[in-house]
């Protein structure tokens, strides 16, 4: 056996072709360094610009000068920042928990059927196929107080007595956007949980059933504890993504009413697009980035641990 740079070959053989004099590790570099350079150009460069900008007084009115931590100071002392922080946390927690509950039920029922399994799986992926902006429009229409299907249904079944206008009430609007956003995230969470479920040894279920366990006991004693890792992955990824995307809120409520659904994204966007205060937008972007790196490092740590095995 011959080992060249950690790459195992059982036999030695003549290497042929244009790059025949190049060793395997050099060959690997030749293949992957252009791709790594793309990553550098596309990510490291903008990141550098962002970091620098966040320390500048860059408001497109005054000349650009170094401002130190002024932008950060401004952001942390700004009432709207803390409002958007609160909204982001509520939104994120709502979306993650709602999609977790639905995905758990969906994944467990999907794992149990045998007939038409592929069709049912395709159908359950459909919300993923809808662009998030479009999802916001779909739900806005369904929540509409005069011709929306949700109000009509709740009125007919007598759950509410007069139409509710979620676009006029900040708390209701938040619930509305949580529904719209969670809806688009259910498919992904479901396939992660489903993939985990399928790796559980089926003989465990049989043994439990022979011992007379009912479905709820099986879920609590087998499916849930043995699938903890997949569920955690789904939760972390959904948390990260609901933290940083605003597409559904954008088309559904645009941060309103009364800034009731105004999240981090709107704060950044407003500072770029409406106030042209790039310095503040930069500081805000960095804050968002750091918050997500903290959440995300847990995820990276887990992924690398899985990779190692």
């Amino acid at each position: 056996m011959e080992i060249i740079n950690g790459f195992r070959f059982k036999h030695s053989y003549p290497v042929r072709g244009l790059f025949m004099r190049v060793s395997n590790s050099k060959f690997g570099m030749m293949l992957s360094l252009p791709g790594a350079f793309v990553l550098f150009l596309w990510v490291v460069v903008p990141l550098g610009i962002l970091v620098v900008t966040s320390f500048l007084r860059y408001d497109n009115i005054h000349p650009v000068v170094f401002g130190g931590l002024k932008n950060y100071e401004y952001v942390f002392n700004h009432r709207i920042f803390w409002l958007s922080f609160k909204n982001t946390v509520i939104f994120c927690a709502g979306v993650t928990s709602l999609s977790l509950v639905v995905s758990l039920v969906l994944a467990h029922s999907l794992s149990r059927i045998n007939r038409f399994a592929s069709i049912f799986r395709s159908l359950s992926m459909f919300p993923w196929a809808v662009p998030m902006v479009v999802s916001g429009f779909m739900w806005a229409q369904m929540f509409n107080p005069s011709f929306g299907v949700i109000n009509d249904f709740l009125l007919r079944t007598g759950i509410i007595s007069k139409p509710m206008d979620i676009f006029g009430n900040p708390a209701l609007a938040m619930i509305g956007v949580i529904f719209a956003d969670a809806w688009t995230r259910i498919p992904f969470m479901t396939i992660i949980i489903l993939a985990g479920l399928e790796s559980i040894d089926p003989s465990l279920y049989e043994a439990a059933r022979v011992d007379g366990a009912d479905s709820i006991q099986i879920f609590r004693r087998i499916s849930l504890p043995l699938n903890k890792k997949a569920i955690m992955t789904g939760v972390i990824i959904t948390t990260i993504f609901s933290f940083r995307t605003i597409d559904t809120i954008f088309s559904m409520t645009f941060g309103g009413p009364a800034k009731g659904t105004y999240t981090f994204g709107f704060y950044i966007l407003d500072n770029i697009y409406r106030f042209f205060n790039f310095g503040v937008a930069g500081a805000m972007s960095i804050i968002l980035l750091i918050l997500l790196l903290i959440i995300g490092s847990v995820f990276i740590y887990q992924t690398l641990r899985i990779e190692e095995r």
Partner: protein, 264 residues
């Protein structure tokens, strides 16, 4: 049973939008709403396709999605293959930087990209959008591709080498055909991500000429009136590629996503 009920509820938004798109404007605004249209009409679709810029929006979306997928695949395949099969000193660090990039919020990088494009006078051009969507999908695409190459048996590569194939020949003649379904999955995922992207084109583009369908849906949002039947028709058009892909290639997409995947 539970599954059918749950799936029915999950599919309501799409179903309701489909039904609304088949209503006349008057019926779409009716209180209380009709659950099934009294009069089925394709009026909204005719209007959207002939009297509005929607066909151009769809074409633009296609251009963005195909260009991004082509670039990401051609740059990413070689990188992923090299990182997976020919490791070298430092290749692990590069790999981890691909993974870390994945959790950087695109929202945070909107500003620097906006500044770069403004500096080079690229605001309101197609290139600006493509550059940004490449950033969105490239790191993850490489990561997924790498996980596909990882599962490809080295024995088969070796057989090719012994038979006198060059290392590049092995990649093109043996490995790539072997992981074709994985590459197709990455192509589809990249295509869909780009197709669904909204904020970047919204921020970078002003003129109708370059807008993709996700931004184009706003064409129907008026100051006083939102044309719900036509907006629904446009919404259905925006969702069609995704739905088609999930019907045809659900298995591969799911495999790609779960092997290394994260969805935006």
């Amino acid at each position: 049973m539970v599954l059918s009920v749950l799936l029915f509820i999950i599919l309501i938004p799409i179903g309701w939008t489909l039904l609304t798109s088949l209503k006349s404007l008057k019926e779409a605004f009716q209180t209380p709403p009709t659950y099934f249209p009294d009069k089925l009409t394709l009026e909204a679709y005719r209007k959207v396709l002939t009297e509005t810029p929607v066909p151009r929006y769809v074409l633009n979306s296609l251009i963005y999605a195909l260009a991004t997928a082509a670039f990401v695949l051609s740059a990413g395949t070689f990188a992923a293959y090299g990182l997976s099969k020919y490791p070298y000193r430092g290749s692990n660090t590069i790999l981890i930087s691909f993974l870390v990039t994945r959790i950087l919020p695109p929202l945070s990088l909107l500003l620097p990209f906006y500044m770069i494009f403004r500096y080079f006078g690229m605001i309101d051009t197609k290139i600006s959008v493509i550059v940004f969507t490449i950033y969105l999908s490239y790191p993850l695409a490489v990561w997924i591709l790498k996980s596909f190459f990882d599962t490809y048996p080295t024995d088969l590569m070796e057989a090719g080498l012994i038979d006198g194939c060059s290392r590049i020949g092995v990649l093109f003649r043996i490995v790539l055909p072997g992981v074709a379904s994985g590459i197709a999955a990455v192509a589809i995922i990249t295509f869909l991500w780009t197709w669904q992207e909204f904020l970047a084109p919204y921020l970078f583009l002003n003129s109708d000429l370059h807008k993709p369908i996700t931004v184009g849906v706003y064409y129907f949002v008026g100051d006083e009136l939102t044309y719900w039947n036509t907006i629904s028709a446009a919404a259905m058009l925006a969702s069609v590629p995704g739905i088609l892909f999930f019907l045809i290639a659900q298995k591969y997409i799911v495999k790609g996503l779960t092997s290394g995947g994260v969805k935006e």
